[in-house]
């Protein structure tokens, strides 16, 4: 806990927290990263789950994975800044802790989806490999949970 307090009281944290231009721009970047990682994941997951209405060859959607990771890295960095700014407060915010659990589950899920579904040699036949739908559905739920709990952090008193 003392580490968190030290972080929160550092001059860097004070700068992020007390400079409105800095703080709100980081929040914007965090929202942008969110829309990239969750938006791209949603398109892939919906295609795998519901398949036929969208007609996009599954294999070509693999190109969206770098886009997702790009969004994720943006948010890991901007999120770290936001955490440091209020480290001790965030650490006791239940929504924040729940959000971390969702992310900790979503990241390996994203990796598995790419490995199990998009690296499947049978992908060219356009069938969904076993477990693909499950992974996609779970990924959607995890990102939904991340978004909801992340948004609610601001409303914890």
């Amino acid at each position: 806990m003392s580490l968190l307090v030290w972080l929160q009281e550092s001059s860097f944290a004070a700068f992020v927290r007390d400079n409105p231009v800095c703080y709100w721009n980081i929040l914007f970047v965090h929202a942008l990263g969110l829309s990239i990682v969750v938006g791209a994941s949603a398109v892939v997951a919906i295609r795998v789950l519901f398949g036929f209405p969208f007609n996009i060859p599954l294999a070509s959607l693999e190109r969206l994975f770098p886009v997702m990771w790009f969004g994720f890295v943006i948010n890991a960095i901007s999120g770290s800044f936001l955490f440091v700014a209020e480290a001790a407060d965030k650490a006791v915010n239940p929504y924040f802790l729940v959000k971390m659990v969702f992310i900790a589950l979503a990241v390996p899920n994203m990796w598995l989806l790419k490995r199990k579904v998009f690296r499947d040699p049978g992908l060219s036949l356009e069938g969904i490999p076993r477990g693909g739908k499950l992974l996609s559905g779970v990924l959607l739920v995890l990102w939904l949970g991340t978004t909801v709990s992340g948004r609610l952090i601001a409303y914890y008193m």
Binding site: A31, L32, V43, F54, V67
Partner: protein, 361 residues
């Protein structure tokens, strides 16, 4: 700033009525002539006017702030107009979404599925009637010459009927001296307008629908956070589709035809619909907080531009015909990148609302 936005309301309020009427006429001719091109133009007009109506609705609140407290202006007339405008606005947006689906289907199959054109026809006629009613009621706020003494009393009780209004209007409007809306407002001292107290959430309690929606949003602790969360989810869905279009246009998914990507456009529109509904709830909950916020004003400008670009990817043949392994035309690449930047700008000003003004997300 109030004054400028009030002017904007007076300028733009003719589009959802007169402009939409022109679109409706064109659409009926298109149906009669069975011309697909004319149908597309008609549907495109409906879509664009539905976009523009967002600004007309929002700027109406600026007009309310500018003149609502002035002597001789009836708050209840404004409340009645506001309710009528909200109802007409809802139907206008429904027409806009249906028109978008019509354009999307026309592009995909060269003819609409059986339900769309009848749906657009019915929605647009209802919208036109509701808009005409809202406009009539709005005109009476500053045009006492088209109002009757009987009506004023009726309005106070909120039991006004459209029929009464139409009779009064048709009898009296010709005889009335023509009065320019703009000059009427300019005659008011600027200082008085600037110093008006901004309405606080839940302050108005005039029994109107708008006031009860505002009370619902503000008095239940869960509504605002729930809408914020949905607003972010809608944003992610919309952004996912915008990204996908960009990825294809810029050549990263070259083996996919644009026709395949085109299938996902309604999903993006669903994200937008979620955000339109939650956004309108925020706005009704705290109009004064948004309308004078520079960030919000920019957000709406960028939103209009981004929305217009939707028509390009929904309808234009040059994008539609980008097949597998085809390089997208330069114009499509430029418009695609611009559209994404516009949406990012919408997000920027949305997220920065609390920075530009007090309160917000």
């Amino acid at each position: 700033m109030n004054l400028n936005l009030a002017h904007l309301h007076l300028l733009l309020n003719h589009f959802p009525t007169v402009g939409f009427g022109v679109g409706l006429g064109l659409f009926i001719v298109a149906l009669a002539a069975k011309s697909d091109t004319l149908k597309q133009v008609g549907l495109g007009i409906f879509f664009l006017i539905a976009l523009l109506t967002m600004v007309v609705y929002l700027s109406g609140n600026a007009a309310d702030l500018a003149i609502g407290k002035l002597p001789g202006v009836s708050e209840s007339l404004i409340a009645v107009h506001e309710d009528a405008a909200l109802l007409a606005y809802v139907f206008m947006e429904l027409t806009g979404f249906a028109a978008f689906l019509g354009l999307w289907q026309l592009r995909r199959t060269a003819r609409n599925t059986s339900w769309n054109l009848p749906a657009v026809s019915i929605l647009s006629i209802v919208t036109f009637a509701l808009m005409a009613r809202a406009a009539t009621l709005g005109g009476e706020i500053r045009h006492s010459e088209i109002r009757s003494a009987v009506d004023t009393a009726t309005v106070e009780k909120h039991t006004i009927t459209v029929e009464e209004q139409q009779i009064v209007t048709s009898e009296d409007v010709d005889a009335a001296p023509s009065e320019d809306d703009n000059t009427t407002i300019e005659e008011q001292p600027v200082g008085a307008v600037e110093e008006l107290p901004t309405a606080e959430p839940g302050q108005k309690d005039d029994g109107s629908t708008v006031a009860s929606i505002a009370a619902f949003v503000n008095d239940n602790l869960w509504v605002w956070p729930a809408c914020e969360t949905l607003h972010f989810i809608g944003m992610c869905i919309l952004m996912g589709v915008v990204l996908l279009v960009n990825v294809r246009m810029l050549g990263m998914m070259k083996n996919v035809s644009f026709a395949a990507i085109h299938r996902l456009l309604p999903l993006g529109m669903l994200g937008f619909a979620i955000n339109l509904i939650t956004g309108v709830l925020f706005f009704i909950g705290a109009p004064a907080r948004y309308i004078n916020n520079v960030g919000f004003q920019w957000k709406m400008v960028l939103l209009l531009l981004a929305g217009m670009n939707t028509l390009y990817f929904t309808s234009f043949k040059e994008v539609w015909s980008v097949g597998p392994e085809d390089d997208a035309p330069l114009k499509a690449k430029v418009i695609s990148v611009c559209t994404m930047l516009l949406w990012i700008g919408v997000m920027y000003f949305g997220r920065m609302l609390p920075f530009f003004g007090k309160g917000g997300g």
